[in-house]
């Protein structure tokens, strides 16, 4: 699933907030501008094998560029307005307001924010776009694969100490509407009643993190092609024609109760760095697979250089939307129920990803505020067979480079 374009409608709220915020900026005494930039690209080792990370050519292309600008203005002692505008090369540099919120610092320990926020799915969610703040060019995509990164809503962010430990707790409620591309077809997606909680516990050089989220997820999957003549929508109609309504419902993603859980650890002693995260997405009754993803990263700093090694794994479990259909019953037109069962299993299996990726990377801090990064990803996944019978190797290597700054 990959986000390709932004829906202008979804930005209305964000832009309204941005405009409302612009007014106080005119007279605010304390307005801060800050920004970040990432310019990068990469190439594949073998363009006949599986594509990875958005790269499908053996020639080096520089098409991973993004520019972010954050404006934040102090409205009064307790209230701040912040907007983060991001332009990405893979979105034709169209400017998106990915964050736009008002925050109220109730006291030293409690902050309440309302507007468009980053969903705290992962350890690096908050600064996902700010490559300068972490070791990789981008965090391991086996784990950082969710297509929704933002939520329109409210959150409460608490910080404090628990004995000798530093703790934080973030709880939010909201919803999001976006358009995705699923298996090559556009699909509108939305979450409703999205609610989540994330907490951290840390001391000096280590931080533990856990998060849990749930939402009613709707994705219009009916336009997804399942063969040269049929779409998922027409197949659902076939199922209904034969009376398998509950199976038809399981193919559609309509207000399905989905959950996402994460645990992670981050270590930075100055000399050594390490991070690990494990996530699980439970699709409820939807045909999406149960995603089980994780990575472990270790690294060492030497002067201005950081060398790191990451092992990432995707080991999804396919769902069983065919449950309840009797085997081998003759049916008009399609032959027998085995055809329906086979098709359902194939759709479910196509949603489950199995992949191991080993990443070796370096970060070189050229000056304060600018880092140059190199990365090699070694991908190991099962071979796949195209409709015309061609076998596509699941072995691939990706070489990528990026220059990332904050200002």
């Amino acid at each position: 699933m990959k986000k390709i374009s932004s829906n202008r409608k979804k930005n209305h709220l964000a832009w309204t907030i941005a405009l409302v915020m612009a007014a106080p900026f005119a007279c605010a005494s304390d307005v801060n501008f800050s920004g970040f930039l990432s310019v990068g690209g990469g190439m594949l080792d073998d363009e006949d094998a599986v594509a990875y990370g958005g790269y499908d050519e053996e020639d080096l292309t520089f098409d991973r560029n993004l520019l972010g600008l954050q404006v934040s203005g102090q409205i009064n002692e307790k209230v701040t307005a912040t907007a983060q505008l991001i332009a990405r090369s893979n979105n034709d540099y169209e400017v998106d307001a990915e964050w736009a919120y008002l925050s109220w610092q109730a006291n030293d320990f409690v902050k309440v924010r309302a507007g468009r926020l980053r969903t705290p799915f992962y350890m690096y969610s908050d600064f996902l776009d700010v490559g300068y703040s972490y070791a990789w060019i981008t965090p391991p995509q086996e784990v950082y694969y969710l297509p929704f990164n933002n939520v329109d809503g409210v959150d409460v962010y608490l910080t404090g100490t628990l004995g000798i430990f530093d703790t934080s707790l973030q709880a939010y409620f909201g919803s999001f509407t976006d358009d995705l591309v699923l298996s090559g077809a556009p699909a509108d997606a939305e979450t409703r009643n999205q609610i989540g909680l994330s907490g951290t516990l840390g001391k000096d050089w280590w931080t533990l993190r856990a998060a849990y989220h749930q939402a009613d997820l709707t994705i219009d999957v009916t336009g997804i092609p399942i063969s040269q003549t049929a779409t998922l929508g027409s197949f659902v109609n076939t199922l209904r024609t034969f009376g398998f309504n509950s199976n038809a419902d399981r193919v559609l993603v309509e207000e399905d109760d989905v959950t996402f859980a994460e645990v992670g650890i981050n270590i930075d002693t100055g000399r050594f760095v390490a991070a690990a995260e494990h996530v699980e997405f439970d699709p409820g009754d939807a045909i999406l697979s149960k995603n089980i993803r994780e990575y472990v990263m270790v690294g060492v700093r030497a002067g201005d250089w950081l060398i790191h090694l990451t092992a990432a794994k995707a080991k999804d479990e396919a769902t069983h939307p065919e449950t309840g259909i009797p085997v081998g019953q003759p049916l008009p037109v399609v032959g027998s129920t085995n055809f329906l069962i086979g098709t359902l299993q194939a759709i479910a299996n196509s949603q489950a990803i199995e992949r191991d990726v080993l990443t070796l990377g370096t970060r070189w801090d050229v000056t304060t505020g600018t880092a140059i990064k190199f990365q090699i990803d070694d991908i190991d996944s099962p071979d796949s067979v195209l409709v015309d019978g061609t076998v596509v190797s699941g072995q691939q290597k990706v070489f990528s480079v990026a220059v990332q700054t904050v200002f």
Binding site: S72, Q84, D108, F127, S133, G270, D304, D365, V406
Partner: protein, 141 residues
């Protein structure tokens, strides 16, 4: 020529000695009820993990400008981060609205003047620049 080399060598010795020996004083307004802080207290204030002095007075940390020797030494020995790590640490908080880094207050003299004029501020300067207008609450040897 020999004289020049000798002078250069002397300047070098003095300069390096100065860097190695320069003691940094963490300073606050003389009226602040806090008489001393631990390294942990100071580090927590400058990393945004604490927003008040022990006792509850609101604390406003002030950095020296980027590139100053005092700032580099302070960040390395108190915050345990070099200039790049310090920048990366704050960029994780700045772009999420979860924190604002200490403001840059200039050099020894400018920071001292700020602290002397503001009862909530905390800063650091070379020990040699300390005078009665500020109070020292911690020393970085």
């Amino acid at each position: 020529m020999k004289k020049l080399l000798n002078s250069l060598a002397m300047i070098f010795v003095l300069a390096t000695a100065n860097v190695a020996l320069a003691e940094i004083a963490v300073i606050v307004h003389p009226t602040l009820s806090v008489s001393s802080l631990t390294e942990d207290d100071v580090s927590r204030l400058f990393l945004g993990k604490a927003k008040s002095f022990p006792g509850g007075t609101q604390a406003v940390p002030i950095n020296q400008n980027e590139g100053s020797a005092a700032r580099d030494k302070f960040n390395e020995s108190v915050c345990k981060k070099n200039a790049s790590q310090y920048k990366a640490y704050w960029s994780q908080l700045v772009f999420t609205g979860k924190g604002t880094p200490p403001k840059d207050g200039g050099d020894d003299a400018a920071v001292k003047a700020l602290i002397a004029a503001n009862p909530n501020m905390i800063g650091y300067i070379d020990s040699s620049a300390v005078d009665a207008s500020v109070k020292v609450v911690f020393k970085v040897p």
